[in-house]
Structures are given as C-alpha cells and as structure tokens.
Amino acid sequence: MVQITGCEPEMSRELIEELERERRRNFIDRLKHVDWEVEQILKDHRKWFEIQAEWSKKYYEALYRQMDKDPKLKKIIIENILRGDQSGEKHITFK
C-alpha cells in the first residue's frame, strides 16, 4: 500500500510534480499518435477516409438510436449546448 506521509506542503508539491510528469507523458504519446495518423494518411488516404466515414456513421447511428429511445437525452444535449453558449464555454457532450 502506498503511504502518503510527510510534511504536507512538500508532499503536495511532489504529488503535483508526479501528476504533471504523467500528464506530459500522455500528451507526448498523443502527439506521437498524431504523427502515426499522418503517416497512415500519406500511405493511403483513400482507405483512411473510408475508415473515418464508417467510424463516424457508426458513432452517430448509435447516438441517434439512444436519442430516439430516450427523448430526454436529446433535450439534455440541446440544453447543455445552449447553456455552454450562454456561459461562453464550449459544451461537452460525448467526445
């Protein structure tokens, strides 16, 4: 079991440093993923577009099925978007 002991300000600084390192590593991995995407696109963009369109279609079909099943969901999404617009923030749905 990990013990979180020691002087509190010091511990806080160390924990934050750990989190920041982890976040930085994740971000670098995501940037590498972008490079991989571009590599695949340069190899065969036609195929890539096909996969992208198929994935988009499946995503929206599933989402729309949910909305049809539960009309409240559609209402919540609309309210969420409009609330986000009023507060000047971007809305978050199902990214």
Partner: protein
C-alpha cells in the same frame, strides 16, 4: 488577333486523395464516403456560396476534413456582416434545405430577427441539420481582425464537386497553438505535418510571431 492569358497550373500531390493547385491556392479532395460533419459542412457552404455570402470555416473541422481521427459536435463558420434582409433570405434558403435553429423550432421572421440581433451583438447562433442536435453549425459574424482575415484570405477547398472555404492553414496552425489546449496543439501538429510541403513558411512565421507562439512543439 486574339490575346489570352495562359495560366500555368502547378498541381502538387499531397496524398492519394488530395492535390494542391499551387497557382490558385486550391486544395482538391476526393472523398468516396462523407462523415456527418462533412455532410453538414457541405450542405451549409453550398447555400452560402449560392447566396454570395463570404465565409470561412475555422477550428476543429478544418483538421477533421483532412482525416484527423476525432469528432466534433459543431462546424464553425465565420461569415461577413450582412444586412438583416440578406440574413432573412439566407435563413429562408437554409430552412428549405433542412436546417433549423437549435434554440427554436420556429422559422418566423421574429425568430430570424432575434437570431440576427444575437449575431450583431457578437454572439454565435447554431443551426441543426435534420432532426438531431449534433453535429450542428455554429455561426458568427466576423468581429475580430483575425475573423476578417480568415474570410479575406480563405483557402478554397474542392470536395468532390462541392466548394468549401477554410481559414488559411498557416493562420489556423498558429491560432491553434495560441489556444494551447492539448486538442488544439494536436490539431495544429496534424495540419502542419500533413501540409508541410505546401505551407507558406513566411506567413506561418508571421502568424506565430504575431500570436506569440512557437513552432517547436510541431517539429519535435
């Protein structure tokens, strides 16, 4: 004797579906299947083109259009400031094509007038296409200098037989770096790496300088 201008068109192949017409600064994209975001962006642009409303697409959809593997809830359009009369006529065409306001099911002149006043104040309005709220079109008038430059210097994209106009890639990359969220930096890197060979280096450096961002995170 007949005099004519002969254009020498230089086409640069970027991928097996994208070509760049260097002379006219047009990117030509062939897509056999469209994403939902493509469908709504093309339907909206078609009407703006027909109504002679100047515009530019900005933000996330610019990278999605070229294959970035994420999705977006909206396609962001900046349009030139138009009169209420022209806006009403635009709305009429949009309604006919299947668009409606996200905030209201009504298509009355009163609702159109309210939407126009929101745009005039600098707010954004949204249009949905069909019966579902996402993806939707987020539209605003050009209010900032960068908005206006995005429209004035927009790049024309031919998608199959249709036309889209996007904010210049150089500006988009610098702007995304300026926004600075992880998602934005990823998008910037995607555009930079994909279009590296056709970007105008001077323009990109200029925008980076003006927005006080650096290209280091795109190169490494």
């Amino acid at each position: 004797m007949i005099y004519g201008i002969v254009y020498c068109v230089t086409m640069i192949r970027i991928t097996n579906t994208i070509e760049y017409d260097e002379t006219r600064r047009i990117i030509k994209v062939r897509k056999e299947k469209l994403t939902m975001e493509d469908t709504i962006a093309l339907a909206f642009s078609r009407i703006l083109e027909k109504e002679n409303v100047r515009y530019a697409i900005v933000a996330g959809y610019v990278s999605l259009l070229f294959g970035r593997s994420r999705r977006s809830d909206d396609v962001d359009f900046i349009i030139e400031n138009i009169s209420l009369g022209k806006f009403a006529s635009l709305c009429e065409k949009l309604f006919k094509a299947g668009f409606k306001f996200l905030h209201s099911n009504e298509k009355t002149l009163e609702t159109v007038r309210m939407a126009y006043h929101s745009l005039e104040k600098g707010d954004r309005i949204r249009f949905t296409f069909g019966e579902y709220p996402i993806p939707n079109v987020e539209m605003k008038f050009a209010t900032t200098r960068l908005d206006k430059i995005s429209i004035e210097e927009s790049m024309m994209i031919h998608v199959n037989e249709d036309v889209l106009r996007i904010s210049p890639l150089e500006l988009q990359i610098a702007y995304k770096l300026y926004l600075g969220s992880e998602k934005d930096v990823e998008d910037a890197r995607f555009l930079y790496k994909l279009f590296k060979n056709i970007l105008d280096g001077e323009k990109l450096s200029k925008w980076c300088r003006l927005l006080d961002v650096n290209l280091k995170c795109l190169e490494s």
